[in-house]
């Protein structure tokens, strides 16, 4: 296992057909839910990426601050350096950019797991496959979750 994330293990199991869910005839697998999860995960990942861009800009733009004026940050060289590294490039990985990276990986893991489960259903159920394909083609980007 080593450095494998919990999600990776589940995804591998799903790929190998080892995740099995038994439903009786009264349980209906909701195709729409899989599509919503796919789109919501993508939207969440997009949002995370946009914030990573913001963190990068904060780090880059620190140089334009005016240390000799009453700025919104107390501009001693030490604090400026700490703040810049909190946006991006902290050696310990505790900067915003790296933390967002981890969030992205978590959401990506959830998305991949549900994709694999949806793939297994598609292989087993032609009706599911047709509906899934149709919905994936027509759902717009952005959050689609129910309120």
């Amino acid at each position: 296992m080593g450095a494998e994330t919990p999600m990776q293990g589940l995804i591998e199991s799903a790929k190998n057909g080892q995740l099995s869910v038994s439903f009786n005839d009264n349980v209906y697998v909701n195709v729409e839910e899989f599509v919503l999860i796919e789109r919501d995960c993508e939207a969440m990942k997009d949002q995370i990426k946009l914030y990573q861009g913001l963190a990068r800009d904060i780090s880059n733009r620190e140089v334009w601050g005016l240390g000799d004026r009453s700025d919104w940050i107390i501009s001693t060289p030490d604090l400026v350096g700490k703040f810049r590294s909190k946006a991006q490039g902290d050696p310990g990985g505790n900067d915003v950019h790296s933390i967002l990276q981890k969030h992205w990986e978590i959401v990506d893991g959830i998305q991949q797991l549900h994709r694999e489960i949806a793939n297994r259903y598609q292989q087993a159920d032609a009706e599911f496959a047709a509906k899934y394909t149709e919905l994936m083609a027509s759902v717009p980007q952005g959050f689609q979750g129910k309120k």
Partner: protein, 188 residues
């Protein structure tokens, strides 16, 4: 009144007017070419393109699926302002498209690694800034405009951009510039 006294009065009145123009307490001026007397930085960002209003077909010609995000770029640092929007390719890069009163000369003074090119008759300065001195995962391009520049700040972090990490952030920025710079009003 003698000529010298009149001249003195004119000079004094002129000095008072200049001091008023340069005050940081003034609301953001409508005139894009007004300058702060103190440091030669324009009061506001340039005009001549709305970077938040790029047609979808232009975006798709840069990269299929490139779309405007719901997070904008509305920031200030010292006397420098950025006004624009952020764009994203799912599982790929993000880029800003922002007007700024930051000029190419101000950037050149920082001596960042990078390069200069000309796109559609405008100088484009590529810089590798603090967040990524290699220009691989992050890169900034500034397009020369009157009183400032149009900036593209690209994030192509490998960890979150599986679809575009085969490209450098600077390559991405240049492909954005090639399609967007021609949309700037001539003379702006």
């Amino acid at each position: 009144m003698g000529m010298r006294t009149l001249t003195t009065v004119v000079v004094l009145v002129g000095a008072v007017m200049l001091a008023g123009c340069g005050s940081s307490e003034d609301p953001v001026a409508g005139s894009p070419t007004g300058t702060s007397a103190a440091d030669g930085i324009a009061e506001d960002v340039p005009t001549g393109i709305d970077p938040c209003d790029i047609p979808p077909e232009v975006l798709n010609s840069i990269t299929p699926g490139l779309r405007k995000g719901n997070l904008d770029d509305n920031t200030s640092r010292g006397a420098i302002k950025w006004r624009g929007c952020r764009y994203v390719v799912s599982d790929g890069y993000t880029t800003t498209m922002s007007l700024t009163n930051l000029t190419l000369d101000m950037l050149r003074e920082k001596n960042y690694p990078g390069r200069e090119d000309v796109v559609d008759g405008r100088t484009v300065l590529t810089t590798h800034q603090a967040s990524d001195p290699t220009g691989v995962e992050g890169c900034v391009l500034n397009v020369q405009m009157q009183g400032g520049s149009l900036e593209f700040s690209v994030d192509n972090s490998h960890g979150t951009s599986p679809k575009t990490r085969h490209l450098t952030a600077c390559e991405v920025g240049m492909s954005v510039a090639e399609k967007i710079v021609p949309l700037i009003e001539p003379g702006a």
